[in-house]
């Protein structure tokens, strides 16, 4: 029985997930629009003039990214669970954490990247000084995948539950607190003229840890959830 190489299965899963996201564009756009709406609420809710907004801009964008990723992550495994593809994934002779990693990358490309690309525009709307843009984009680039991968553990644990009770958010949001802290610190630090490299390095370390450990935990969580 010639078994297909793990890389081939990885690419096949990645391609398949991207294809599904393209065919189900609205499922992907909704969280993105939610992100835009949430960010534009703050100037109305708090105060329009720049001096105030400038201080909270980084935090607002980061918190909106966290909430939007909760919504978009919800669909990560749900449709595969309901139509049985998740069982096929478990029964493939390929290492499960690798296929889970492929799904995480596909999810990040589709829902994480657009947020990062549009964040400077939103930062401008929140009158964040231009000096903060590079730090913001870099911190999002490093932090959003961490939120996605750690969150996918919680998604895998609650895959059988459907979305009732929003239990995913209760479990996943506290876990992304460190990323939020260092993400906002990086931007504020660069605004104050100091170099944000220290915090970006910390975020990079978190990304490395999450990329290596989270898929293994997610694979274990999927096996547990499907043993129901």
């Amino acid at each position: 029985m010639s078994r297909v190489s793990a890389a081939a299965a990885f690419c096949a899963t990645l391609k398949r997930d991207l294809l599904i996201s393209i065919k189900r564009r609205n499922e992907v756009l909704n969280p993105f629009m939610f992100f835009l709406i949430v960010v534009s609420l703050f100037p109305l809710g708090i105060s329009p003039e720049g001096a105030m907004l400038r201080q909270i801009a980084a935090g607002v964008i980061w918190i909106a990214v966290l909430l939007a990723s909760m919504l978009s992550m919800d669909s990560l495994y749900r449709s595969d669970y309901e139509d049985g593809s998740l069982e096929q994934l478990l029964l493939s002779s390929q290492p499960l954490y690798l296929l889970v990693f492929a799904k995480n990358i596909a999810h990040w490309l589709v829902s994480g990247l657009p947020v990062i690309v549009v964040s400077p525009l939103l930062a401008y709307m929140l009158s964040l000084p231009a000096a903060g843009y590079p730090a913001l984009v870099l911190s999002l680039l490093l932090g959003v995948p961490v939120v996605g991968m750690v969150g996918s553990i919680a998604v895998a644990l609650t895959v059988g539950l459907g979305s009732r009770g929003l239990i995913l958010a209760v479990i996943a949001v506290p876990m992304s607190v460190p990323v939020l802290i260092f993400g906002t610190l990086a931007v504020q630090n660069s605004l104050a003229g100091a170099s944000p490299v220290g915090y970006l390095a910390l975020l990079g370390a978190m990304l490395a840890a999450a990329a290596s450990l989270a898929p293994v935990a997610t694979a274990a969580a999927l096996r547990i959830a499907l043993h129901g």
Partner: protein, 251 residues
């Protein structure tokens, strides 16, 4: 090989746990009551008031003891979770299932006593720049997450192993949160008139009273957890013969 595992599985059998705890419960309860009484009387009556905080230092005795005990819940649940996942010993899951609500209560009490003490020493009931209190808040949220996952999953076998995994991941997370909040705290130190970091009261008496209270609280933690686990055993093993005899004998 069978001998070693035999010992482990005998250790994990609910009946063995029930029998052993029946023997040790009276001693545990007695020791706890004694130490609790000594600690309370010492803290309330015999502790000299601190020159800076006055009599509110008596609050710290309880706060520090309860805070120390509540920090041990996630490691306890992570170890019980590992045992559940690797060796599938039901007893470990029973302990972990009852540890989560107790841990939430401990965290809540730590937050309550901390903010009551803070209302005097810091002048505010909640202080974001105290990293211990903020990380305790997020430990409280993570514990509530484990409890709500346990309640949401109806199949008890899946719930046991899912909560085990979440406890392990949560335990790592509590540690990371603690240090990131501490790091964040050192940067956001507002230049306030009185120094935020009010030192803990000096003098050996304070630390001896707190040590006694801490041991008393740990004994209480063990006692409460054992009582809850014994109830869990009675419910899960209700069809077993020895439980039936126990029930008939007891009433």
């Amino acid at each position: 090989m069978a001998g070693r595992w035999q010992w482990l599985h005998r250790l994990g059998s609910p009946r063995w746990f029930y029998a052993t705890t029946t023997r040790w419960l009276p001693w545990l309860a007695g020791a706890m009551a004694l130490l609790l009484a000594v600690g309370t009387v010492w803290a309330l009556l015999y502790l000299p008031p601190d020159y800076q905080q006055g009599d509110t230092s008596r609050i710290l005795v309880v706060h520090v003891a309860v805070a120390g005990a509540s920090l041990s819940f996630f490691p306890l649940m992570a170890v019980a979770g590992t045992v559940t996942l690797v060796w599938r010993i039901k007893l470990a899951d029973m302990v972990a299932k009852n540890a989560a609500p107790l841990g939430a209560w401990f965290s809540f009490l730590t937050l309550a006593t901390g903010s009551i003490w803070g209302s005097v020493s810091w002048g505010t009931w909640w202080e974001w720049t105290d990293s211990r209190l903020v990380s305790m808040l997020f430990q409280f949220f993570l514990l509530l997450g484990v409890i709500s996952l346990r309640a949401a999953l109806d199949n008890s076998a899946t719930a046991a192993r899912a909560c085990a995994l979440l406890s392990i991941v949560g335990c790592i997370n509590v540690v990371v949160i603690k240090y990131s909040v501490q790091w964040w705290n050192t940067l956001h130190q507002p230049p306030s008139p009185i120094s935020m970091q009010v030192g803990s009261p000096n003098g050996p008496e304070f630390w001896v009273a707190t040590a006694i209270m801490a041991v008393a609280v740990y004994l209480f933690l063990a006692l409460s957890l054992i009582l809850a686990t014994r109830n869990e055993i009675l419910e899960r093993e209700s069809k077993a013969q020895w439980v039936r005899e126990l029930a008939l004998g007891a009433t």
